[in-house]
């Protein structure tokens, strides 16, 4: 039999895959080339091949390592908080009530909002002098908190904004899955006398597991790349307390114009992220999602 008649669809997808692969490898090759040179836009010395010098510099760069740790912390906290809150809200909304559609629409608002607007809004809310949050605290007699100006608090303030913006994403996925769960299964469990908590734990959550694993994976990838909220709310300050690896790479590239080193940071972050996500995929994902 002629190969084309065996699978004619390959003519449609093979060129596309080939082109995407080519683009990916070309970019990766260029990125590697950048990492092995010393491209510095403000320099007058020209470009030289420097071997692994940029990687050695990164391995001993205290600021970069701290930024990496901060990124890991932020990803872990943001992802877990968003998934837990997301399930809780989805379960809470998984009932028939008047205005359900409206509530669902309202819940999506933070996610749809441009991160710059969200960042500015939270920046004003967290403003120590005239922000709403400190005003509300003052009405119950709590002294003003320096949300974005205290290095011990600022990262968590940005975290709150991130959770507010992205929990709806988890809610959305969880709600969609909840609607596909056969109602009779849940009813049967209740008929057998299972308490509501047992129903959720033993019947509903196992069915949500795949969805939640995918949601967590997507949120983790997005949190590694989080940039806009940090840039708008704190610009990495105070005292570097909110500088993630991504933001550090941006500063090196677009403040210092040290393009090669910035690319090294970005490439390193990509590699670390890939390894972490592969591990997550290997150990946290239920079989069948993989």
């Amino acid at each position: 039999m002629h190969p084309i008649s065996r699978n004619p669809t390959r003519l449609f997808y093979q060129p596309v895959i080939g082109f995407l692969a080519l683009a990916a490898f070309a970019l990766l090759g260029y990125a590697l080339w950048l990492c092995l040179h010393n491209i510095y836009l403000m320099g007058t010395k020209g470009t030289q091949f420097v071997g692994l010098q940029n990687f050695v510099r990164l391995a001993t760069d205290w600021r970069g390592l701290q930024a990496l740790w901060r990124t890991a912390l932020f990803v872990a906290l943001a992802t877990s908080a968003e998934v837990v809150l997301g399930i809780a809200i989805a379960l809470f909304l998984d009932k028939e009530f008047r205005g359900k559609k409206l509530v669902r629409a309202v819940i999506l608002v933070p996610m749809i909002m441009t991160p710059v607007i969200a960042g500015l809004t939270w920046r004003f809310l967290f403003n120590a002098q005239s922000g709403m949050i400190n005003y509300w605290l003052s009405t119950v007699g709590i002294a003003p908190v320096d949300w974005l100006g205290n290095p011990n608090v600022a990262l968590y303030a940005v975290l709150v904004a991130d959770i507010w913006q992205w929990t709806p994403f988890v809610v959305l996925l969880a709600m969609a899955t909840l609607e596909t769960i056969p109602k009779d299964l849940v009813e049967a469990a209740r008929m057998d006398g299972a308490s509501e908590i047992r129903v959720i734990w033993h019947v509903i959550l196992p069915m949500l597991r795949r969805t939640l694993a995918v949601a967590a994976l997507i949120r983790a990838i997005d949190s590694v790349k989080a940039f806009d909220l940090f840039y708008i709310m704190t610009k990495g300050g105070p005292a570097l307390s909110t500088e993630t690896q991504n933001l550090y790479g941006y500063t090196v590239a677009f403040t210092n114009f040290d393009i090669s080193y910035a690319m090294t940071i970005a490439l390193f972050l990509t590699i670390v992220t890939n390894i972490a996500l592969l591990l997550l995929n290997r150990f946290a994902m239920p079989k069948g999602v993989r």
Binding site: M42, G43, T44, Q129, G149, P151, L240, N256, F257
Partner: protein, 436 residues
Amino acid sequence: MSQTRSVSTGISAVMAAALVAVTAWTGGAAAQDKPFAGQRLSVLMVGHPTTDAVRKALPDFTAATGIEVDLEVVPEADSVPKMMLEFSAGSGRYDVVEASSIHIKGFVGADYIVPLDDFATKYAAFYDKADFVPSYLTPNIVDDKLYGLPLFGESSFLMYRKDLFEQYGIAVPKTFDDIEAAARTVKEKSNGEIVGITMRGQQGIQGVYIWASYLWGMGGSFLTDDGKSALDTPEAAKALDTFARVLRDYGPVGVANMGWEENRLLFQQGKAAMTLDATVNGAFNEDPSVSTVVGKVGYAPVPVQTANAKGGSSSLAVFNLNVAKASQQQEAAWLFVSWATSKQQQIHSLDTDPNSGVTSLAAMDSEAFNKRYGTFKEAMLASLANGNPQYIPTVPQANELVNNTGIAVSKVLAGTASAADALKEANELNNAALTR
């Protein structure tokens, strides 16, 4: 082959004839007046009242020269990365860019912008060198060549509440110790209701821009005479200690994340007795539609602590228009640069926008300027006269030095490091950057 040549010669002859005919028909003189009519310039500028005024007047420029202008306006922080990417690629995407004078040496060193002297002699219709505030023009001159013209400029000064100072019996501060004492008095006598002094403390250029007043005023500097970092000196440590202490003890809550806007608003709302910031803030303080302290603000030069300062303690920030090396239309670009900075356009800008940062002497002497900004004009001119062109370093690595220094300032302000330690670290990083 020969046939091809004869055909092309024929075409050239026809074109030449047509050109002569067209020139004769339009009268020749018009072509002389508008040698670049029909060219289209791409211009990158920074969001600012001056830029708004230029945009509104663009039809005048097109009417006078026949040159069309595509104006792209972005926030200051984004403008430099944007132009750097185009410059380094040699793309010619922008014919004219607006940049702070701290970048000029870097641009010249990397061969990104062109000298304008030849254009200035050839096309001087809008250009009047003597009309520029001299200290604004100087940063544009590198190795005796003119690389740009100043579009707007500003200095910094101390703003204080005359009413509160009178009420509490405080004299206008002349040293940084005076500032601290005044801030303490305000805080104590107002029972903490009014913040003693507010300044920008955000990590990065915001905090560094203000702290530099303390650095110079205490006798320190960013760089030594031979171009090394000079931040590990006792003067610099004292400057940072004093700056951080006055803000921590008598400044507003949240100061470590306050930029220009937050700081300006706090003072405009009457919640602080003093602030040290750019002269443009005067225009906001005196604008009744946004300020509750109109007429209550006094303006004084930035304090100095020592008689042996290495440079003035007030800033001199100038934004200039430069012509890109990769531009294919450098003459037309020069015409735009000289028109946008001409005295006619600057005087006109006072009627259309709150443009207190004019660089033209004639505009500063105009009635409109005196009417609007008379209350702080003298203090502003005094600050300008002492304005320090090296206030923020102008070496090619300036951005990186500011970034490193900003981290030190932020750490001390947030209380996570001592001034001496933080500055020692910044000093090492700056020296590494300077040898790159």
